[in-house]
Amino acid sequence: MAAPSVKGFPDFQRFKILAKDDLTSLLDQSPGKKDLVIDGDLMKPLDRIASVSLLKQRGVDKIFKFDGTLKSMHGCEQRVYLVQPRMTTMKAIADHINSDKNINFMRKYSIIFVPRKLHTCLSVLEYEGVMGYVTLHELHLDFVPLDKDILSLELPEFLKSFYLENDQTWIHSVARSLVRLQALTGEIGHVHCIGKGAKMVNDLMNYLMKRDNNSDQDFSRHEIGSLILIDRDVDYVTPLCSQLTYEGLLDETFGIKCGTIEFGPEVTGKQQSAKLLLNSDDAIFEDVRNRHFSNVLGYLSSKAKLLQQDFDKRHGLKSVGDMKDFVANELRRLKEQKSVLANHIGACEQILGKKTKGGFEEYLQAEHSLLEGTSLRENVTYIEELLFKQDNMLKTLKLICLLSLTQDGISPQTYKSLKTQYLQSHGFEQLVTFSNLKSLGIVTEQETGSQASTPLNKVTSGMAAMTRRSTFKTLCKKLSLIPKSEDIDLKTPTDMSYVYSGAYTPLSCKLVEQVITRGGFTGMEEITKCLPGGVHSENHVKRSKGKSARQDRPVSKVVLVYFLGGCTYSEITALRFLGRLKGYVFVIATTAIINSSTMLESVMEKPPI
């Protein structure tokens, strides 16, 4: 079956333009020279929407990074804070103002809240007695378009605050972002929710849409066919697996922040480090980002050879005119390509260096056998060995998490001993980490019951253990997440599982596949009952509007997948692959792009300094 020709990604640059316009008009509301103090978390997203020169044009004199530990700040007569609505931030701002008050040097202060102001923040300002000195604004910056198919809210704290602390604040932000998105792209016809947060977002979104419905909505526009909202707590396994695609490895090794990566001297081979914008505009990167790492270097070196040939053309140049032409056009392009290529090759070497050292292979083997649910005993021993050798704490923790997630918890004895060993290796404060992970359901204790001591029960529980299959295992079986064939062609893959070397198909992506091919959750009851939070489907298509979105219209092939709590680059890659395979266009929206380390770090207790 030939895939229908769907090229059209909705144009998300509009978000940037909107945000830019909003920001400039806010800055214009404080005319004249001013200092801009920006929340550290907003630095990168701001980079994406407004350049420094634009800010300068709008009268910004100096730009400071917000530092909550400073009690006072210097600068000119006018100061604009661009911050996220946090109480601690407010307290720090109040400190700044109060210290200015004490030396009788008053400035004009304004605070721009991103994405909106919160009552709690205002109450802090009021309590500190500075409310009268500040003017307050809001900048509705929600989606930062990282690429033509990736929208990120850049809210890494979503995972912790929603799943761990039950704080629904960001659910509202997510719903808002969808409302604003649909104001641009038109209403999305079908909504599928997987998980409890997804359902909440959907309800809130409907509520907000109804409220803001001013009947002047443009129904003619219709750019996205369906929306799949998926909770991270439905699938914690996938982000904990070691990423093996190029883009995923870049993120795990160097950390991609808001679509940019910074290569140190060890990669560039020069004194200074290089900042690279990683998106589809970089042709070389676009070619390799989705590849399994095993065939990246080969491709890059062949690319290097081609480039060399292009360079060599200059020897064949006949006339002076040709020469001039070459220098004017070709050379510049070639030089740029060369430096990009050099960076990527450098990065590959770094990754390779890190992966060959430190027993990565054993680790990967343990990870894969955990996913398959085999050799349990050996894996526990392996984890213990990592602990005894004082190996990287995140790495060890990842395996403990996977052990628990794939087995529906760890048996009490093992649970206790692993925890004890972990604490002995990495400190007492990890007690809190384990308590957090327990609340999240990532590392739990199996409930065998206290009556296991009676012989009869021992038999039955033993029986139960034999027949019992863990939820994850059921899902693996039902959705065939673990491919049967041993050898999968990583070069020309035929299955999403290639992103994990053919060992595992990401659960989240498989669910997306099921939903789009079935057009909902019908016939999936066996599977959906294994998912926490349940599922929900809704139809928004207005039949009466005549031009209802029919299934064969290309727009119905545009699917927005929204990850609550973040997603990994590997999942994005898998979905891109799925899109190519089935003729869909996937647009990925997420609260943040995460990887196993950033995910775990966000819920870990920081050791005392």
Binding site: S161, Q168, F388, K389, Q390, L423, S425, G427, E429
Partner: protein, 828 residues
């Protein structure tokens, strides 16, 4: 004849026409009242001071009555406050009363009290002797003159800010006359002191002005400003009316009335003529000394309008205005203007006369002008009977034009339809077309709403196709606010009636209506109305105002907007005692979680209290543990941990309890070690502590810790091997390897040695590695060739494959030799 009632005044004409015959004619004798009418066809207020008219001195308070311009009564009340000094209207059609103590009372046109404010302490102390209500750039202003001859002024009754104007030097008694001039966004007072005029402002400046006057003057007895504040008329004690610009720089004329007494009213008719009223006689004076005389058969009151003068009498309400230029052009006898020709043509056409064609031919080129003139003239007519022929003429002329935009015609028809409607005596707003232009349609609609003519207002909105949000639904909201004031109906009926009418109309804020109901003292009605409010953000604040906190909280939660939830939560926290508050939120998981979140950042102790109250010892313990990290002093830290420990005991979390206990022990050890060795140990994990001790050659203490904390053998072995490797203590390492049988196998030793680059030592241990592990171990230390050989010796193809898989592109030779080994194995 259309021009029969035109009165020439110099080169222009003035015309008086009847607006209404007054409904009040049976009951009201205007001469017995103090009269005040609002401009723009506004209502008329009458103040009957019986103490003045009654023959016997009675101490009854005066009666105030308000009528529409058509004389229909809107409201009546007996005054029950102080002495009214002056009565007037604001630009929002509120009735203002200024008392002699400077207190201003504001009523709506139905005489419902709205608000009150004063004109300052000084005015209160020394009494007000005169007062002017004037229109300022900010709305309606009030100026009072105190008995000390000081002027206090406010520029807006909506935002009364009192300013004191400069003092007029040497003014000891009340001025003979004064006025407030409002020009260039500034209000100044012009005070007549004898023959002098003084202009004073609130900047403390005063200027003496001398107008150009040809006759002697000892006093100015009256002065009047035109509607636009640009022209001034003054009446001198010699009976002369001086007319000039309000800055006194220009004189238009002086007119000697030969009257020894000043007029009862000196007013302007638009900006073109000054009107003086003496009893039943009215004199109209033009800027060029032309004049017209009118006589009335009963007393009248004059009301200035921007384009004319309303004359209110007992029987009639008339309007005096200049005949508009365009009307003059059409109707003036012998006019050859295109409009006049078209009008004639249309008349002939409807008569069926061929003359119509002739007229049209004459103005063929100017037909467009003609049509516009007819349209405009129609607008200026008040009588529909006169509008019609003009519009008909315009329509007729339009037929001969091919590309004439009908917009002006249609607009005028619509405007006239509306104007005729509001001029109808039932509504009674005698607005002219030019007044409407100035007032604007939304304000006219507001005024209808003010008069509670909701139906008419809605119809007009619908007729003009004004969007619902700014038109009909806004009016409905006003209607609803009015409705909730009807005490006679019960809450249920009103709520239902309102919802029926308003439904889900966009732009309706039920909470605003509910707020009104609340202000009317009907909380139950407010609650019912709030149920219709779709926006939780609007509901919640009002519910809180009504002290319906728990409903507010659940509504806020329903909205999914945590910000709203916080608003309610923080309010609750302030208004309840802690115990009640905790009880209130414990059954609301969302609110509970949010509050915890708030505490986590703002007030950790409160959070612990909450956990304690909830018997959530696990969380309480965790809190204490986290607290302990922040403590500087060791004693505090241990104290917190001990508290945590007891929490964990209560929580039956044996594991956490033991760990906490161990941590306390470890901390104490570390502290002691720091003191003894003068090296940092605090905050290290157990493993790191022992590791450092081993590196530092303190094997004894390390051993002690190992026993104390029951460190497993395998951990201890790994630890010690790695530590010794790192410190390069190969002797000790060898000693260690020869001790108790190692639980980790010899390969650990090999690994550590090779990691630290000591191949010699590595080989030493390699010999002791068990045969199964040997190949792997060799590969690990990089001896692939040896590994291959060993594998071959073991005759294990599997091991050979393993070595092969570890070969890189640089091991070509080795790969070849392994391949041949494999072949050899295969052969055998």
């Amino acid at each position: 004849m259309a021009t029969a009632d035109w009165n020439p005044l110099g080169e222009v004409y003035y015309k008086k026409c009847e607006l209404y015959s007054m409904e009040w004619s049976e009951t009201v004798d205007i001469s017995k009242f103090e009269v005040s009418a609002a401009p723009y066809g506004g209502p008329i207020a009458l103040l009957k001071d019986e103490s003045k008219t009654a023959r016997v001195q009675v101490s009854t308070k005066p009666i105030v009555t308000v009528f529409t311009a058509a004389g229909k009564q809107l409201g009546q009340m007996r005054w029950n406050s102080g002495n009214i000094h002056k009565m007037g209207w604001s630009h929002t059609e509120d009735l203002l009363f200024v008392q002699d103590d400077g207190v201003v009372l504001v009523y709506d046109m139905f005489l419902n009290f709205k608000k009150t404010f004063g004109m300052g302490q000084e005015a209160k102390d020394v009494k007000v002797i005169d007062c002017k209500i004037f229109s300022s750039y900010q709305g309606t202003g009030i100026a009072v003159l105190t008995s000390t001859c000081r002027v206090f002024i406010i520029n807006s009754v909506d935002d009364p800010r009192i300013r004191r104007l400069a003092e007029v030097p040497g003014l000891s008694s009340a001025p003979s006359s004064w006025a407030v001039i409002n020009l260039d966004r500034q209000s100044r007072a012009l005070i007549a002191k004898g023959s002098e005029l003084c202009l004073i402002d609130h900047g403390g400046q005063y200027q003496v002005q001398t107008p150009d006057l040809s006759t002697d003057v000892t006093e100015f007895l009256a002065m009047s400003l035109s509607f636009n504040n640009r022209c001034l008329a003054m009446f001198t004690d010699k009976g002369v009316i001086w007319i000039g610009s309000s800055d006194l720089q220009k004189k238009y004329c002086e007119f000697n009335t030969k009257s020894p007494t000043p007029p009862q009213q000196l007013s302007w008719c638009g900006a073109g003529a000054v009107v003086g009223l003496w009893g039943n006689m009215m004199l109209v004076v033009g800027p060029d000394k032309d004049w017209i005389n009118f006589n009335f058969d009963c007393p009248v009151h004059l009301v200035e309008e921007e384009d004319g003068l309303r004359i209110i009498g007992k029987y009639q309400h008339e309007f005096l205005h200049k005949v508009p230029e365009v009307t003059e052009k059409i109707f003036k006898i012998g006019s050859m203007e295109p409009g006049a020709m078209l009008f004639e043509a249309s008349k002939e056409f409807y008569k069926g006369s061929q003359k119509a064609d002739e007229y049209i031919r004459i103005i063929k080129d100017k037909l467009e002008v003609a049509v516009s003139q007819c349209i405009e003239a129609a607008g200026h007519e008040i009588d529909p009977a006169k509008q019609k022929p003009l519009l008909r003429a315009a329509a007729f002329g339009k037929c001969f034009l091919t590309d004439y935009s009908p917009e002006a015609y249609v607009n005028m028809c619509q405007m006239l339809r509306v104007l005729n409607q509001v001029r109808h005596h039932v509504i009674g707003i005698p607005l002219t077309y030019s007044q409407l232009q100035h007032l604007s349609m939304p304000i006219l609609i507001d005024r209808l709403v003010l008069r509670k003519l909701f139906y008419h207002a809605v119809k007009i909105c619908q007729y003009l196709k004004i969007p619902d949000a700014e038109g009909a639904s806004r009016i409905l909201a006003h209607w609803a606010c009015y409705k909730v004031q009807q005490k006679s109906e019960n809450d249920e009926t009103i709520a239902r009636a309102i919802n029926q009418k308003l439904g889900d109309t966009p732009g309706i804020s039920y909470s605003e209506i509910a707020n009104h109901a609340l202000e009317e003292g009907r909380p139950d009605l407010a609650t019912r109305l709030l149920d219709f409010e779709p926006q939780a953000g609007q509901q919640v604040p009002l519910l809180m105002k009504m002290h319906k906190d728990s409903i507010a909280l659940s509504k806020a939660i329903e909205s999914g907007d945590t910000d709203l939830v916080y608003t309610v939560l923080l309010h609750l926290k302030e208004s309840m005692n802690q115990g009640e508050f905790f009880m209130a939120i414990r059954n609301m998981p969302v609110a509970y979680a949010l509050f915890i979140q708030y505490c986590r950042q703002q007030n950790r102790t409160l959070m612990e209290d909450l956990f304690y109250q909830e018997d959530n010892f696990q969380e309480e313990g965790t809190c204490k543990v986290i607290n302990s990290f922040g403590k500087e002093r060791m004693e505090d830290r241990v104290e917190e941990l001990k508290l945590a420990q007891s929490c964990f005991t209560k929580a039956k979390n044996e594991f956490a309890r033991v760990q906490t206990e161990d941590q306390i022990k470890l901390l104490k050890y570390q502290q002691r070690l720091e003191e003894e060795m003068n090296r940092p140990f605090l905050n290290l994990s157990l493993h790191e502590t022992i590791y450092r001790l081993t590196i530092g050659n303190n094997h004894k203490v390390a051993e002690q810790l190992r026993k104390e904390f029951k460190v497993p053998d395998r951990r201890f072995w790994w630890l010690k091997i790695q530590a010794l490797g790192e410190s390069g203590d190969w002797v000790e390492l060898e000693k260690f390897s020869k001790g108790k049988k190692a639980p980790v196998g010899m390969e650990a030793f090999v690994e550590v040695c090779s990691k630290h680059g000591n191949m010699k030592e590595a080989l030493k241990y390699l010999a002791k590695v068990s045969p199964e592990q040997k190949v792997k171990c060799l590969v690990k230390v990089g001896e692939r060739k040896k590994a291959a050989e060993t594998a071959f010796d073991n005759r294990s193809e599997e091991e050979l494959n393993y070595v092969l898989s570890k070969c890189g592109p640089n091991d070509k030779q080795l790969v070849d030799s392994i391949r041949s080994m494999k072949q050899q194995l295969g052969k055998r």
